[in-house]
Symmetry: C2
Subunit: 255 residues, 2 copies
């Protein structure tokens, strides 16, 4: 077991490997699949490795004396600056070889003075607890984790190359979201404050991956009695204007 501290200069940040071992539980991470809805597309927030077309679900580590659910909230807040968000654990990923970068990737990173092999804490195998969260796209201000170049939203149907088992991870998160949507009203967490019925229908169609009947969808949702009808939205189209709606409930988290 590695114990010695090593100091590494990465992107101008003096990084002390010993800090990791003192602060966090080794071999153990939390990854957070963040879903948002925009332009009639379901998207996930991903971060890009510098100078590589490889992307990653973002995450973090668990402090020595921290509940994992608390850690997940903290990590999500670091990544999105959002609080009080729908956030659920969905699966733990633990293939022995899951968290190894390919030689090619390591080389490119080394050219940029990022050498994970020099950070003992990161050299070990990691088991990762997957959480997924549903956020209001408009409210997120993404931040970029250490070692990454940028963050961006990606359509769930057009995912870029992903590191590790992150493609599978997003797939499992989406499948969990789908199944949960069938019997819980979590979809609303993805909507802005006000919205039309058509926009809500598009969200459901995107998540479920199938078209829904307009009349029946409207009837079903209205019968749930969770929406408040607001003023009409005049979009300028040559047709009847739709109503705007908002949720009756107070806390999004509890829906």
């Amino acid at each position: 077991m590695v114990k010695e501290a090593t100091n590494t200069e990465i992107q101008g940040i003096l990084f002390n490997s010993k800090d990791y071992f003192e602060q966090f539980i080794p071999q153990f991470s939390i990854d957070c699949v963040i879903f948002g809805f925009h332009d009639n597309e379901l998207k996930v927030l991903l971060s890009k490795l510098p100078k590589l077309d490889y992307w990653s679900v973002q995450g973090g580590f668990i402090q020595k004396e921290e509940d994992i659910d608390i850690a997940a909230v903290r990590i999500l807040k670091d990544l999105t600056s959002l609080d009080n968000i729908y956030l659920k654990q969905f699966q733990t990923f633990g293939k022995a070889k899951r968290s190894e970068y390919s030689y090619a990737i390591k080389q490119v990173l080394k050219e940029q003075n990022i050498d994970f092999d020099a950070i003992p804490f990161l050299q070990q195998r990691f088991i990762s607890i997957g959480y997924y969260s549903l956020v209001d796209f408009q409210k997120v201000t993404p931040s970029v984790n250490l070692y990454f170049e940028s963050s961006a939203w990606h359509d769930i149907n057009k995912l870029p190359p992903l590191i590790f088992d992150h493609t599978e991870m997003i797939g499992t998160a989406l499948e969990t979201l789908r199944q949960t949507l069938d019997y819980q009203l979590i979809g609303f967490n993805l909507m802005p404050e006000t919205f039309t019925m058509k926009e809500l229908q598009r969200l459901y169609e995107t998540i479920l991956g199938e078209p829904l009947k307009r009349n029946n969808f409207q009837e079903k949702i209205l019968n749930l009695n969770i929406l408040e009808r607001l003023e009409k939205q005049f979009t300028g189209g040559a047709h009847k204007a739709p109503y705007l709606y908002c949720f009756k409930t107070v806390s999004k988290k509890s829906i």
Copy 2:
């Protein structure tokens, strides 16, 4: 971080703490909630702490280079001697203080020369990945883990005092089982080779916690076309004898 090996004599087994650190990932365990069905009751297999009325879901540790799913299969086999069993991960438990024995329990264990405080590997906080499995009650030959006195099946509605967060763990496993039963035919994993329709109905009623209509249950199950009707079962009752059934499918695991 503790590195030194300590030897401890427990129940006649010379136990080397260093082995733990060399073989397994620290702070990380797998717990396996094993469900069986017998006497019209849904039961879980639990192990008892010696001379204490405290019981535990059984589990094990993950080898350094072992996939967690593989580890779960290995652990289940150790506990039940069964292979090729329905086994699914359902949740990971990670409260910071979840894996601490009370002072009172430690005292009683110490009187029997079981001193967990003397085993550095076990002194740390543990995060545990919960798996649940569905087994044919009749086929299980339970084995008892180190440190435990005996194993026994317990009715899910009459659980004894449990250590750590194991009560919650069993509750979550049961809830997962319930929800999965609604759209997958996993119930069959709990049945013996042959059974009557009434027995199958009792299983469903026990898991779902609600009575079902005999006629509609029979019709629905038969329409699924997964059962093969065998000979009648003459039990000696003064009434029409029911048919025995078995599954058409080959592998139980795949249902």
